[in-house]
């Protein structure tokens, strides 16, 4: 009888250990359509809804450098109940990746040589080979420049197509063997602030107004899950500071060189961001039920 009890205790302990090993801290294994909210801080006090926004396309023009979004970037986490202005503060994802760090190739690489759109495919291919390879190719990775709590979401404006739907403080990490590991445009103390809208922008010259798309909302899972397809957030009135930390100890030489090649710093109306997204949100209570 005593031996049986001992085996039972051991079984329970092993089960608990296995459960602990299977799940990373703070993560929940939601199933099916709810799995996208696995890193939502759904049990954190004050969190109202979970957000999963996948940027599946678009482009970022920084000064005179363009980077197309070819690999999806995810903005995820939770957000608090809205204030009287309809704005909600974001709460960081439990895995620490509120904005996933995904490198995107900068067109023309370090030399910035981009063949015209009308060029024959072979010319485009050769240009890519020579100027966007491991040595001269440059990757740009978007990173958060402030804590998640400084990301502001306005879900009403998002669907109305007016005002700021998403305020995102970012910095751009430029990566290339010559640029070293700490080459950034924007920093935690001097971030690039995107006031993204699904409506029409009002930029300073030389940029002209561009219009986003609220997208197609769909309510699923018996009113508990909201998805927005074909959403497009735009912003082309932001300014970008000069590059910093490029070229390691030679940054005093490389930073100005990069700035002159990329047209940095750029004042408002010279850069743009277009983010094409698929957005999902649900209340934490709904997420926690799955």
């Amino acid at each position: 009888m005593q031996a049986r009890a001992r085996w039972l205790k051991l079984g329970v302990a092993l089960g608990a250990l296995m459960a602990l090993l299977c799940l990373p801290a703070g993560a929940f294994a939601h199933e099916g359509v709810w799995a996208k909210f696995n890193y939502c801080p759904s049990t954190t006090k004050g969190v109202w809804k979970c957000l999963h926004s996948e940027t599946v396309g678009g482009e970022i023009v920084l000064g005179n450098k363009k980077s197309k979004i070819t690999t999806p970037v995810i903005l995820q986490g939770g957000y608090e109940e809205e204030n009287e202005l309809g704005e909600s503060k974001m709460v960081a994802a439990t895995n620490g990746e509120t904005l996933t760090k995904v490198p995107q190739a900068v067109e023309g690489g370090l030399l910035g040589i981009v063949p015209p759109e009308s060029s024959p495919p072979l010319v485009k291919l050769l240009s890519k080979y020579f100027f966007e390879n491991g040595l001269t190719g440059v990757n740009a990775t978007l990173e958060l420049a402030k804590p998640a709590s400084e990301i502001v979401i306005n879900e009403f404006e998002l669907l109305v197509g007016e005002g700021v739907a998403l305020k995102l403080p970012v910095k751009v990490h430029l990566e290339n063997p010559f640029l070293g590991k700490s080459c950034y445009v924007g920093s935690n103390s001097n971030p690039i602030i995107w006031n993204l809208t699904t409506g029409t922008t009002n930029p300073k010259s030389p940029n002209t107004p561009i219009t986003g798309k609220p997208g197609f909302p769909e309510i699923k899972e018996n009113y508990t899950l909201a998805e927005i397809l074909d959403n497009e957030l735009v912003e082309n009135n932001w300014s970008a500071p000069a590059a910093s930390g490029c070229g390691g100890i030679l940054s005093f030489l490389v930073d100005p060189l990069l700035d002159s090649m990329a047209g940095l710093p750029s004042s408002e109306g010279h850069s743009s961001a277009v983010l094409k997204n698929t957005i999902a949100s649900a209340t934490v209570a709904a997420v926690n039920k799955h």
Binding site: K49, E155, A282
Partner: protein, 202 residues
């Protein structure tokens, strides 16, 4: 020979001009009371027999959907504006979401009459309805329904009916984000001032 050709051209021009007038006349509809054209202004009131808004995956229905509309004829066509639109006892198609508040915003909304394929329609423009949903599990927050909507007028029953077909016929649409919203509603139209008890026709 030359005179005959000129006559033919003139006849054709006249025909084109006449057909233009005829088609314009077919597109104009006016407000009438007992068959007589309205020459002053009138107030029409009514309450929807049923009214339902559907965005993909979610339906909102209001038991009491009242309206107050000022009407007149101007430049040979029926015009007007909706001045009040209180909405009461609204609920969704699921107990997950409740309607915390619903309100018509930016009133008055202009209206006009039009004729499409021999049928008279009332078109409401600048529609702006804000709905605030609540519920612990409810994914809907604050939502704005905006756009324009055309409803077919039934002079026999003194009603205006709005649905997918009537919105398509009038080239109108209501939207939440970029998604089309389906609106079904049957509204009795009843004069409330000088022409009370008279039959209102579009």
């Amino acid at each position: 020979m030359k005179t005959r050709a000129r006559t033919l051209v003139l006849a054709l021009v006249a025909l084109v001009a006449l057909s233009g007038i005829a088609s314009a006349a077919a597109n104009a509809a006016v407000w009438k009371f007992n068959g007589t054209e309205l020459t002053t202004t009138e107030t029409a009131v009514g309450a929807a027999i049923s009214s339902k808004l559907t965005i993909p995956g979610a339906t909102t229905e209001c038991e009491h959907f009242l309206y107050n509309m000022k009407i007149k004829n101007s430049s040979g066509s029926g015009k007007g504006e909706i001045t009040e639109l209180p909405l009461y006892e609204c609920h969704t198609g699921s107990e997950i979401c409740t309607v915390k508040s619903i309100a018509a915003e930016k009133l008055p909304w202009p209206t006009h009459l039009t004729t499409v394929s021999g049928k008279d329609y009332i078109v409401i423009e600048d529609v702006d309805v804000n709905i605030d949903y609540s519920g612990e599990l409810c994914s809907l927050g604050r939502v704005k329904v905006s756009g324009s909507a055309g409803g077919v007028i039934n002079n026999e029953e003194e009603t205006a009916t709005f649905n997918k077909t009537t919105l398509e016929a009038t080239g109108t649409s209501l939207k939440v984000g970029s998604s089309s919203v389906e609106w079904t509603g049957v509204f009795p139209t009843e004069p409330f001032e000088k022409h009370r008890e008279e039959r209102l026709e579009g």
